[in-house]
Subunit: 110 residues, 2 copies
Amino acid sequence: MVQFVHPSRDDITLEGVLAALSDPMRLRIVKSMLSQQGCMSCTEAAPCPDMAKSTLSNHFRILREAGLIHTEKKGVEHRNVIRQDDIEARFPGLLKTILGFCDEPRQGKA
Amino acid sequence: MVQFVHPSRDDITLEGVLAALSDPMRLRIVKSMLSQQGCMSCTEAAPCPDMAKSTLSNHFRILREAGLIHTEKKGVEHRNVIRQDDIEARFPGLLKTILGFCDEPRQGKA
DNA sequence: TCGTTAGTTCAAAAATAACGAACTATTGAA
DNA sequence: TTCAATAGTTCGTTATTTTTGAACTAACGA
């Protein structure tokens, strides 16, 4: 039985959030979850199709333990939601600021 | 003769900046440089005194190559300045947002 | 010139991340 | 109920990144 570890709002740290977002793949995951604004399964939010399941699972665990997403089991899949309110309460504007730049599709040289 | 690699303003990438700032030590370095608002030698900006010189040097190289700091040789030491204008031009508000939260000394459980 | 200081480079050790294989849990169909 | 399929996790190994100490360079001062 899988137990998900979710930090409480106050246990969300800046370094944890930054570390979680410093990975291009995780940045994309969060970005797609933000634009979706609803639950997404791990596979739905996968940043690229050819990523190993275990790697993807690990990325979600890191995002989860950093407090960026909330995961709960729903049937055969896991529903992930971005913890936008908690992060906003903890670090107002941070997510919007970071992901806002991420929205520019490409910047100069690819 | 040491040649420093500094990306031009437009070559500064979000992921590079986030990756550079995702390390607690580098975050502290940048933080102290921001509060100082002037040149700092590597040793002056060292986040902890017991860090190996090579590690410190490596952190500065990462910050430099991410475009966060500018380094130039001045006598026996290296003067590092934060490239605040370039980062602001590239990602307005990012640095202030991120480092602003970093200013809270400690948050809940240490 | 010699010693000291500040920082870099290199190669090896330590820590992290990615992967494939095996596993668990749920669903749906026979 | 049993069997196959699906969605993720966990584990152990490999690959990549970080940290470190040792040796080096460059600038300064006595």
